[in-house]
Symmetry: C2
Subunit: 213 residues, 2 copies
Amino acid sequence: MRRKIYSDKKEKILIEAIKVFIDKGKYGARMQKIADKAKINKAMLHYYFTDKDTLYEKSLEYIFTNLFLRVKDFIDEEETALGKINKFVDIYIDFISENIGIARFIAREMADGGQVVKKVMRNLTRQENIFIPLRFIDIIDRAKKDGEIRNVDTVHTLISIIGMSVFYFIGKPVMDAIWKIKPEEQESFIRARKECIIDFINHGLRMQARGNN
Amino acid sequence: MRRKIYSDKKEKILIEAIKVFIDKGKYGARMQKIADKAKINKAMLHYYFTDKDTLYEKSLEYIFTNLFLRVKDFIDEEETALGKINKFVDIYIDFISENIGIARFIAREMADGGQVVKKVMRNLTRQENIFIPLRFIDIIDRAKKDGEIRNVDTVHTLISIIGMSVFYFIGKPVMDAIWKIKPEEQESFIRARKECIIDFINHGLRMQARGNN
DNA sequence: GTCTATATCTCGATAGAC
DNA sequence: GTCTATCGAGATATAGAC
């Protein structure tokens, strides 16, 4: 299903560039380091991606393309709104914990003002004809109308859901230190994280059943 | 009540350094720029704070000292646990929205691996004999025992609360673009953010009353 | 404590041969 | 397309006069 956008060599460069950007940030990243990891020399790096800004932008674009395509697949499946939201949390956290640096990459970019991410999202929206956040707005709105969830503020609820899902991963090294999570406990910690968020959402949003529950 | 830790001059430097770190990040920040804004020359900057790493660390320490002292004041006041949590969200969001860059500063530091923030927190914990996150653990634990809130996972619930509170501010420029928040709407948006989080928490955590509501 | 001048170095980018 | 060598900007940090 995935369209091949880049040649193998360019893709290899992007993958290594992303690792270095995750590790050091846009300004801390070194072109030399990226070239080394991609096993090419620095001149070739500039040959393929012109300059650092371009490489950074293409790296973000690569990340978002994969993320959006992943979410897109399930979002159209028929289900209840709460089911969709639960599944979103499930898939989203899986994606982030498998690509543990990506939350940090995006967080840093946003903290930098998010100019590049805005540009990438604009392009991607046009290309893929899908803009995940707005699709979720629809889902929540409809669930309210159908009486499936309480009459909450749509946008703020969505921000809360994403914030809960992503925050731990942004601050992972610090979080793990504060809560004394040992390496061998990480997997179960993330599983519990998921369950707790979904439980929180279900109790926080679901229309109160009158009498029972 | 606040102890004076730094001379006026050093404090002035720290305040300006924080602004530049917020704007450009640790690696993007320029010592020259900080010196200019603090109205001293670059040599004096090194005279007072040795090098960039030290200045960065002291900047973070300054931020956390103020943040912790602010939260410390109310946390001892007697109240219900849900009341404390609600008030925490209230004060926390006020602090962040008044110091809009600080969330970004901390987010970036955490994305960088959080080594410095860990060190600062360790020192501060010793000094102030208070470590806010652990105090909140106690609050939530007691509320569970008292039957005030449901039997949720304590740590994950706390992470969720902080994540909901802080996430919008980390990604503010991008968020405002996605949700089309105009400058004149920001104040009411933040007010609504606060209300929605508190509402979410209360519905998500409170023990279900049997029969009514 | 203050300031000018400068040493030293690192990095992004490119020229130019192959 | 590939690679070596190098340029030149711009950064941190400091020496040394006052």
